[in-house]
């Protein structure tokens, strides 16, 4: 009989749920990365108590976790409409603003959160990252003679930019080079902030692999040199190639007088006919 009782026991989802039960279970599902199930439980909680602030906040988090920005913003705003200084809603909305490229709104929201809750590490960390982003750009660097920088044979693109995202030169020149330079700089700034928070020092090198290309980067905090190579490139090989281009770029910019002007690439160079180059700035 105990076996039959177990078999016939009604499923948990049919049992009447209270709002705290639903939210507790939703939190548990969220901790396990089961966002769809967590969202269903939050929806149930909101059906029972449509003005439950915790449920709206949890709904916002779950929308963010599932990359649904618009409903996440609506939920965070709902929470702030009921508690204007809700720190978690402020930081949630700030992160959405940052994601949308609205640095000013992000800054204001983080400052608001920290005004009421000065000991709020996430907000402080994001504000630091944002300050680094908004720091004034260094004096304009002269454009290097990128036609003298030889890409490796497998090299797909070279971008020389400033740490604030400003494009100095690209090879080949494309319409999207400026956007790529800005995107790489934004990622480097956030990574630098994360590494600094861990006490690991300033970021010097990076590899971003998108399944098609691997972008190898070198930076000193002012200048960023990035080289896109096929994804299958061995990391030491790619880092060697970007190091060579880094030295050559510094030389072209007049920042490293002692460096040999053009070191030979670690892999065969592209032929100029296949890979036309131009200065872009």
């Amino acid at each position: 009989m105990p076996l039959l009782r177990r078999l016939w026991r009604p499923a948990a989802r049919h049992a009447p749920l209270t709002v705290p039960d639903a939210l507790r279970r939703a939190e548990q599902r969220r901790r396990e990365g089961r966002y769809a199930e967590a969202s269903a439980l939050v929806t149930r909680a909101l059906e029972l108590d449509r003005d439950n602030l915790h449920a709206h906040l949890l709904a916002a988090y779950l929308h963010v976790a599932r990359h649904a920005t618009a409903p996440a913003k609506a939920e965070f705003r709902w929470v702030l409409g009921h508690d204007a200084n809700h720190a978690r809603a402020l930081i949630g909305l700030a992160r959405v603003a940052l994601e949308e490229g609205d640095g000013r709104a992000c800054h204001d929201l983080l400052r608001r959160a920290l005004r009421f809750y000065p000991d709020f590490p996430e907000a402080a960390a994001l504000l630091d990252a944002l300050r680094a982003r908004d720091s004034p750009p260094p004096a304009a660097a002269p454009a290097p003679r990128v036609d003298r920088l030889r890409l490796p044979g497998t090299g797909r693109a070279l971008i020389v930019g400033r740490a604030d995202g400003g494009l100095i030169a690209a090879q080949p020149v494309t319409d999207e080079a400026k956007d790529v330079s800005e995107a790489l700089a934004r990622a480097l700034r956030l990574a630098a902030a994360a590494l600094q928070r861990c006490g690991l020092g300033p970021v010097h090198r990076a590899i971003i692999d998108d399944g098609r290309d691997a972008v190898f980067m070198r930076t000193d905090g002012d200048l960023v040199v990035s080289l896109a190579l096929p994804r299958a490139t061995d990391p030491p090989q790619g880092l060697l190639d970007v190091n060579r281009l880094w030295s050559a770029t510094l030389h072209e910019l007049g920042l490293a007088a002692a460096t040999p002007p053009i070191a030979p690439p670690a892999t065969p160079v592209s032929t100029p006919a296949i890979d036309p180059t131009r200065r872009v700035s």
Binding site: A65, E99, E122, G199, P202
Partner: protein
């Protein structure tokens, strides 16, 4: 693929997924030269973490989740595939990031870590998460 592979036998039972997430993080932490690992949701929520006590987990989670979203949204804007792994190296250590169905896997390692080994281990971990969390018939290749 070179490098160590994660040795986990995932049961696809919903009730055990929380444990599986912790197992994945612990396996990553066991790799050579690795100091710690974490899985953080896209909203910055820490799903599981095994990090040195000197690391402020919440701050790191907020920054890495923001970084992960930045890499994803930039790729979308540029019409490129989303990032699979990213590595950022500093004087005293290296940080790896990988995107997955439930959030971002973060690994902190010494500077001399074998980059290819960690990238391979992260791909394995992402594949394990995909196998366990994807609805039936929706499993994507790692």
């Amino acid at each position: 693929m070179s490098g160590p592979r994660l040795k986990l036998a995932l049961e696809h039972d919903n009730a055990t997924r929380g444990r599986h997430v912790r197992d994945i993080v612990q396996e990553l932490k066991r790799l050579h030269w690795v100091r710690g690992a974490m899985i953080v949701a896209a909203d910055g929520f820490v799903i599981a973490a095994e990090l040195p006590p000197t690391v402020a987990v919440d701050s790191l989670a907020a920054l890495t989740a923001t970084l992960g979203r930045e890499l994803e949204t930039s790729a979308t804007r540029l019409g490129r595939p989303s990032f699979s792994t990213a590595m950022f190296s500093a004087d005293d250590g290296t940080m790896f990031l990988a995107g997955s169905r439930i959030g971002y896997l973060v690994v902190l390692a010494d500077q001399q870590v074998n980059v290819q080994a960690i990238r391979g281990a992260l791909s394995d971990a992402v594949a394990l998460i995909e196998a366990a969390w994807a609805p039936p018939g929706e499993v994507r290749p790692a």
